[in-house]
Point group: C2
């Protein structure tokens, strides 16, 4: 096992100040406003970002206290292996979402479709570019078959933190 | 700035033993075989993973020696802010890709469409579930407009490591 150290590059702000009642995926957060405050020394790295409509955010689930190997996720009543879910109690609690970018001013990004807790430490920003993806033929989504659409409306409870 | 510590959960194996001449995105790695060796104590977290055809992998760019704020990426002759590119020399060198999952046996995953260097430390595995994504209307891809398809054929050189 290799130890890997990162530093937050900024902080994500959103209307969600507690885990309960949050959207559980981006599909449940359409229109939710937010912003990102980037560490000032990184402003040169934001050049040309405003040409992109959507950004991939990688962030640290800072409210997660412990990891689990198996969890019962919001979308099922059965337990599943952690890596077959998006639950935050991961060995490395890294979250991944796609937001809409509305504006960039100095070190502040105005964003939309935010399914992230207020105060979340940001690890990375990548441009969202569908043509970079590989083939997605014969897609199968395992235990989520028939349940993934419910992520648009289901809200979280406190099972994964606090 | 918050210090964040992770440990690798396993190792990605691929045919790419050096950075030069690698595919630069998943779209250039269709059919490329690989495997993942997961730390044995995490095997229970792999339960039900075999129901999914595609996985999101988050990994550590272990060959990157330094970060840069601006880079000239493979797909352009102009320099851009690091966060407007997928270049590996990021403040936190985390990579993100989607691979096809072919088989799971004990702690070994057989995968395909691998655009990752052999020996790469793995940070996280998430199921790829398109219905979780939010709205992607009016997509704009900035400086990559007209250039992103070239990621299918362009290979890397040694500008970002070694």
């Amino acid at each position: 096992m290799m130890l890997i150290q990162y530093h937050s590059i900024g902080t994500i702000h959103s209307p969600f100040t507690k885990i309960s009642d949050m959207p559980i995926q981006p599909s449940g957060a359409v229109g939710v406003p937010g912003s990102i405050e980037i560490n000032e020394e990184l402003v040169p790295a934001l050049q040309d970002l405003n040409g992109f409509s959507h950004l991939i955010l990688l962030y640290h689930f800072h409210q997660v206290k412990e990891s689990k190997l198996q969890v019962t996720p919001f979308l099922d009543t059965q337990s599943h292996g952690l890596f077959a879910t998006r639950a935050p109690q991961r060995p490395n609690p890294i979250g991944c979402t796609v937001v809409r970018l509305l504006d960039v001013t100095k070190n502040c990004l105005i964003i939309e479709n935010v399914d992230v807790l207020d105060g979340t430490p940001l690890l990375d920003i990548k441009p969202y570019v569908p043509a970079f993806d590989g083939e997605m033929a014969d897609l199968r989504i395992g235990w989520l078959e028939g349940q993934s659409q419910a992520a648009r409306t289901i809200r979280s409870d406190d099972r994964f933190g606090e």
